[in-house]
Symmetry: C2
Subunit: 396 residues, 2 copies
């Protein structure tokens, strides 16, 4: 009796990322903020597009307090959902309606609500390495267990043979995240088509749907003319978990949605289960003002060209120093092979050069580190000599 | 395999309140909005105080986009928590700090996070009738079971003998809600002291803490000089679940907090479990802008005098027509004894007079109805002849 020990453990255990970030703050106090090159946090560094604050101002002027700050329906304001459904339909060539959308308190909530809507005891959920460590927390809290499937470390596309072996009759769902945190990799159409082919075959074999859960907060953060395949066009039993945190640079405001594919098996029942899970977890409705902001600003983004500039600068410099980098086509992370086997030791070594990097062990990829380039371009420029010196330290 | 059936059921089953509200909308379309007297929803009818929109405007002017809309720490912005802790300490004569506060996405989230922080399989949670029906959903989703203890139907204060019998070694917590939804009753100091005395004795007997969970979104909505005892002054193992939805009339914005008593057994561990549960359920952090609004507007309220005026008007009129009413000292609900045994049948009869009332069966109190007086005073005035006619219909 007493406290739930598992929850206490989750509350006490700081993530590695948070540990490094806290170390960085201390170190900055010691030697000056401009001398420490903190690449630990995945926190947008580009301001929200003007439409965000502009919309807030307009809504405050035009809407009554009760309409603006009052409850919306549990699934979200109908006008907002229509606006997002129209945008998604037009942009991705699908036919979805407001009734397929459920507004959420951001990507994490999109995932926990989706998982709780479908998970039953004994269910397994497959994730491909590298993956965001909170997936394990969310899957286990929903009563499922996480099955980790390694990606190809050459290019971090999916390893379909490994997937084939991992799918069992207990597999309830597969989580994909493209563009990926922490690798920045965008899954190719070939990877997606292969994945969907395996899942369709296995669903038929086991006589039960396997759900594809697409966690895509970084969808709009892609560079050049790279395409991010839209999963509804490839697979029926899909739940899209979206967040405006990164596209609109409003991660603190907690606004996103779940899109339940209209072509999913028993789609209306699945949608009802999403509503039920949101209710049981205590969400009531997504924040009203920011629902309306999302509805009006959908399709706009923060200035992505800054992230692209950062990527290009960092990638070409690090490759010239001899690092093996996975070229990121999206998100704001660069995945780099550690210069020694133990990525923790490598990150400790990097600290000697005031470089704060995150070992990817917790993402399921020992031997790699994540470098978050959602920082000022100036910080990257100033850090380059340190990256070069770090590489040299391993050549001696 | 497939969807989680329990969640689907929760998503499909509309609450009785929502059914009546939807009927009201249809009926209004038929005969005109001013002819239908809808008393079904507990939705604030008084605008937010000026400080809310004023603060939003000021923050947009003064804060950078990244600071205003960025992530806060998981437990909430430190300055906001300090401001609320100072207010609570001063107002209620307790000593709490920012480190005892965890910002949430409203009252429902305060409850689900608190319950998940402490619940383990087999745990029982006691609620006193009448209680908000979602308590059962939240308790069961956290893996516990709900034990319903009847209140005294004379005045809806606590029945301590019934409580005594209901507490077992499986009792993990007791949920109290004062001012109460749906009765409007404020628990007296006598009720609170008696409750705490039973729980202290039983905790000692069973050698394990029994937590008191105080759900108090209506704390500031009280009339006259009624005092709402602050539970931290009576009981150590207390979690206060607060929401700004009603006090600031911003129910759609989803902002509240959990206060973990600093004098609770292993208070730091309990607080960690709250953080862990928030993480596992997918909350990340409470909405950033409205955290800051809450921090600056704490202690202010929407114009409560309008609710008082409504209460006085409705209560005196209904009593003069012969209804037995429970005098509400707070919230915006009037609890009235049904004029026939079956409150559902009574509410059907009321519909003939275009009165939309909620039978209290789902609140655990058959034979009573809830009348939400968070409506315009004009609606109440216009509805009085209908209430009188309804009473007369039962005298013939």
């Amino acid at each position: 009796m007493g406290i739930n020990q598992k929850m206490m453990g989750l509350g006490k255990k700081r993530s590695v990322i948070r540990e490094i970030f806290e170390y960085g703050n201390k170190r900055k106090a010691q030697i000056g903020a401009d001398k420490v090159f903190d690449f630990s946090l995945g926190n947008p560094s580009v301001p929200a597009p003007d439409c965000v604050n502009q919309t807030i101002k307009e809504l405050i002027q035009s809407e009554s307090s009760l309409a603006l700050h009052g409850y919306t329906s549990a699934q979200g304001d109908a006008g907002v959902r229509r606006s997002i459904a129209d945008y998604v339909s037009k942009t991705h060539g699908v036919e979805v309606s407001a009734d397929n959308l459920y507004m959420t308190v951001g990507a994490a909530a999109s995932l926990t609500v989706s998982l709780n809507a479908i998970a039953e005891p004994g269910d397994e959920f497959i994730c491909f390495t590298p993956f965001f460590p909170e997936y394990r927390v969310f899957v286990e809290a929903a009563g499922g267990s996480l099955v980790s499937v390694p990606s190809r470390t050459s290019d971090f596309q999916l390893d379909l043979e490994a997937l084939e072996k991992a799918v069992t009759e207990n597999t309830k769902g597969v989580i994909v995240n493209s563009p990926n945190n922490p690798s920045g990799v965008v899954l190719t159409e070939e990877s997606i088509a292969g994945l969907c082919s395996v899942l369709k075959r296995k669903s038929a074999e086991f006589g039960a749907p396997i759900y594809l859960i697409s966690d895509e907060p970084y969808r709009e953060l892609v560079y050049g003319d790279v395409k991010v395949p839209y999963l509804l066009n490839y697979y029926d039993n899909t739940l899209v978990c979206y967040s405006f945190s990164k596209s609109l640079s409003i991660p603190g405001e907690r606004i996103g949605y779940i899109l339940v594919s209209p072509t999913a098996e028993n789609s209306a029942d699945l949608y009802a289960a999403v509503c039920g899970a949101g209710r049981a977890l205590g969400f009531v409705c997504a924040p009203s003002l920011f629902q309306k902001v999302a509805g009006r600003c959908v399709g706009q983004t923060a200035d992505v060209s800054i992230y692209k500039k950062n990527r290009d600068l960092l990638l070409s410099a690090l490759e010239s120093y001899g690092y093996r980098c996975i070229k990121p086509d999206g998100a704001f992370y660069l995945f780099v092979e550690s210069l020694e086997k133990d990525a923790y030791a490598f990150c400790e070594k990097a600290k000697e050069f005031e470089l704060l990097l995150v070992p990817a062990d917790d993402f399921g990829c020992p031997g790699f580190v994540r470098i978050s380039y959602c920082v000022t371009t100036e910080q990257i420029q100033n850090a380059l000599p340190a990256f070069e010196a770090l590489a040299k330290a391993y050549k001696n």
